[in-house]
């Protein structure tokens, strides 16, 4: 480490770990799929003395560089334990932990942790130290010189959205929960570790602030590209934050690990299905965008084309409705056959006004929303300048959902995994009306 840079340079870690870790183990077998695994857990297990059942049993997991992997599962499934095994806050009783290909299972855990950011739900700021001192904790331990530390602290406070000139010399008790966790994140990033472990970091923060912190953190991550393991019990947070999600059952056994899309499209068994809860298909629509759909032909007509032409086009299709466009090809009205038959009025005056349109980069979730708001039950797609591109009908959405499932199935088949146990898409179950859901 020489210059204070915001970018994680992986050679930094390699250098740092070289000081504490032995040479890479030649016997490490590199799965081609995860050749670039930043964190690799190899059959890691933890059995507490005096207990027969392991708390974590032979867990194998790879986290590729720059990915957010979310560990999610019901209370007591061992997800926090798993996280704490990675930085050896809990010493594993079996297996190996590899960082960047180096076995760190037996290096000095204190030295190791200085190169791994750690954020916990209770935050744990040092109340007797200023915000700046808190953020400087790891750089100080690593022996950075003072001016470098000061610059780094200011940079980090800026990054997490706290004005250094205001907050530098404050004490933690003067901060609200949201601000404190911003400092918590800044402190974890102190020495620019390539790896970040986060244990329900936003769990104790009110929903509105949590949502904001999540969004800011995702923006931050887009720049810094850390390798992150993130623990939560909230499936919605997992879907939002995760590049991949590992759903854990008791004993930290992995029930399913995959992208949010695939997990939502194809929960591998009843446990995952139950855990995701109802509305998986609906949540899955968040990951598909209109531009990925093939829009079929839909009857449309220029407003000045005349009634006869309109009738001809509508009759030539199997649709009830058609779209009337203005001179710039912007959608104006929805009209049906009865509307057109009123030949005394212009096409721009009959039928229903188009109120909502969607753009190609809208998610299918937004599109569904637009459909529900349209009296016709379909959503018009326009380009950035508002020009008509096509129409999304409800069948297109159901097709998209089933296509996601098919793709997920094909993916699992290519991995040689059986999806025979996968439950079908849950039949629609109306939510309970007691307000608990």
């Amino acid at each position: 480490m020489s210059e204070p840079t915001a970018e994680a340079t992986t050679s930094d870690l390699a250098e740092d770990l070289a000081a504490v870790a032995p040479e890479p183990d030649a016997t490490v077998t590199h799965d081609p799929d995860v050749a670039d695994a930043m964190i690799r857990l190899d059959e890691v297990s933890k059995t507490y003395a005096g207990t027969a059942e392991p708390a974590v049993a032979a867990l194998t997991l790879d986290v590729p560089r720059g990915e957010i992997l979310v560990l999610v599962g019901p209370s007591g499934c061992g997800k926090s334990t798993t996280l704490r095994l990675i930085n050896r806050m809990i010493e594993p009783t079996g297996g190996r932990i590899l960082f960047d290909g180096r076995d760190v299972t037996r290096v000095n855990p204190d030295e190791l942790r200085r190169h791994i950011g750690y954020v916990i739900q209770q935050i744990g700021l040092f109340p007797h130290r200023t915000i700046a001192d808190n953020v400087a904790t790891v750089p100080k331990m690593l022996g950075w010189d003072r001016s470098r530390i000061r610059a780094r602290v200011d940079e980090l406070l800026d990054t997490v959205g706290l004005d250094p000139s205001i907050y530098r010399n404050r004490y933690p008790k003067e901060l609200s929960g949201g601000q404190a966790q911003r400092v918590g994140v800044a402190r974890a990033l102190g020495a620019d570790p390539p790896v970040l472990l986060m244990d329900e970091p936003f769990g104790a923060i009110d929903p509105i602030t949590r949502d904001r912190l999540q969004n800011e953190f995702l923006r931050l991550q887009a720049d810094m590209q850390k390798t992150i393991v993130f623990v939560t019990h909230d499936i919605d947070e997992a879907i939002k934050m995760g590049d991949r999600i590992a759903i854990l059952r008791d004993g930290s056994a992995i029930a399913q690990v995959d992208t949010p899309q695939r997990i939502l499209a194809l929960p591998i068994d009843d446990f995952v299905q139950d855990f995701i809860g109802s509305g998986a298909a609906l949540k899955g629509l968040n990951f598909e965008r209109v531009r990925d759909l093939t829009l079929g032909d839909f009857p449309h007509v220029r407003h000045d084309a005349g009634h006869a032409k309109a009738i001809q086009i509508l009759d030539g299709s199997r649709q009830q409705w058609m779209v009337v466009l203005d001179a710039h090809e912007r959608p104006l009205r929805w009209v049906n056959r009865t509307d057109i038959d009123r030949s005394d009025r212009r096409l721009t005056e009959v039928g229903q006004a188009v109120r909502v349109t969607v753009e190609p980069n809208a998610t299918l979730h937004d599109t569904l929303e637009a459909m529900l708001n349209s009296s016709v039950g379909a959503a018009i797609v326009t380009d950035a300048r508002g020009r008509y591109q096509g129409v999304v009908e409800i069948e297109v959405l159901t097709e998209a959902i089933s296509r996601m499932r098919t793709e997920a199935r094909a993916h699992y088949a290519s991995l040689g995994l059986s999806t025979a146990d996968a439950p079908g898409l849950a039949p629609y179950a109306p939510p309970a009306l007691d307000g608990t859901s």
Binding site: I120, P127, G161
Partner: protein, 294 residues
């Protein structure tokens, strides 16, 4: 703390402005904010006035030869006061040297059975056997020290160690051990486990966490114990004369034996002023050593 001026929060982060009550709570937890400062500044004046009153009263009173001899500053009162202060300081220093390390040791996980585990996930397991009972039993011993009547304690130590200053200091140490030990343990245990977890998680060694996090955060509670011990010891040292330990107790005793109120009042008054002064010094130290931000 005086630096509680609220600075307007950055508009970018107005979502959760720090509660203004932070200033209010700090006033409570720091033991009195500006009021505390006033008390600290006024106390020495009050003590000076008290000393002056006592001096004028004793100096102005008519004295017989017994009184003159007992109240002689150079040969009686001053050396006795020196011994008194010596007894207090030595016993307190020794108590500190014993109780703080003991308190640290006894709060380490391996000595704790049924230690509060709330939030502190996965501590090393207690090493079991007799050790885990050490912590409660040490507290019990220290409790006995304080529960015994002071008079009895002095006599016990007289029988064991013989007369003298050292015996008196030993007895005072046993007597004052409890508040410091207990406060050290309580002070260390009330440190938020999340703070320790965060420190360890960032790569601080256990020793470093103890030194730079646990102890500083326990300082206010430990110092409160030390202050209690000091005041107890100033009072208790008045009995040290019983076993030849010297101190202002000699003067008080002479007054009682000779039925000379003037002598008794002088001795008792000086002990009282000494106790208040020691308490004041301890309060100042507490204020200076208390970490900011608590």
């Amino acid at each position: 703390m005086t630096n509680t001026t609220t600075i307007a929060p950055d508009p970018a982060v107005t979502e959760d402005v720090a509660p203004d009550s932070a200033a209010a709570t700090s006033a409570v937890t720091t033991g009195g904010g500006s009021r505390g400062i006033v008390a600290l500044l006024v106390t020495p004046v009050v003590l000076a006035v008290l000393s002056l009153v006592l001096y004028l009263y004793v100096g102005g009173a008519e004295k017989d030869s017994a009184e003159r001899s007992a109240l002689d500053w150079g040969s009686k009162l001053y050396p006795q006061m020196q011994t008194h202060v010596g007894l207090t300081l030595w016993s307190t220093v020794i108590v500190l040297a014993l109780a703080v390390p003991m308190g640290i040791l006894l709060t380490r996980p391996m000595f704790r059975k049924g230690a509060p585990q709330v939030g502190r996930r996965e501590l090393p397991r207690p090493i079991g056997g007799a050790f885990q009972y050490l912590s409660p039993s040490m507290l019990a011993v220290a409790n006995v020290g304080q529960a015994l009547p002071a008079y009895g304690l002095f006599i016990l130590f007289l029988a064991w160690r013989g007369q003298g200053f050292a015996t008196a200091v030993t007895a005072l140490v046993v007597f004052a051990l409890l508040p410091v030990l207990r406060n050290t343990m309580v002070g260390l245990e009330q440190v938020d486990p999340a703070v320790i977890e965060a420190g360890r998680g960032m790569g601080m060694s256990k020793f470093r966490v103890l030194l730079s996090i646990e102890l500083p955060l326990a300082v206010p509670v430990i110092l409160a114990g030390v202050r209690t011990a000091l005041v107890i010891n100033v009072g208790m040292a008045s009995l040290a004369f019983l076993i030849g330990g010297g101190g202002l107790g000699i003067t008080i005793n002479s007054g009682l034996k000779l039925s000379r109120d003037l002598i008794t009042v002088t001795g008792a008054g000086m002990v009282a002023i000494l106790a208040l002064s020691v308490d004041w010094v301890a309060a100042v130290v507490e204020r200076v050593l208390r970490p900011k931000g608590l």
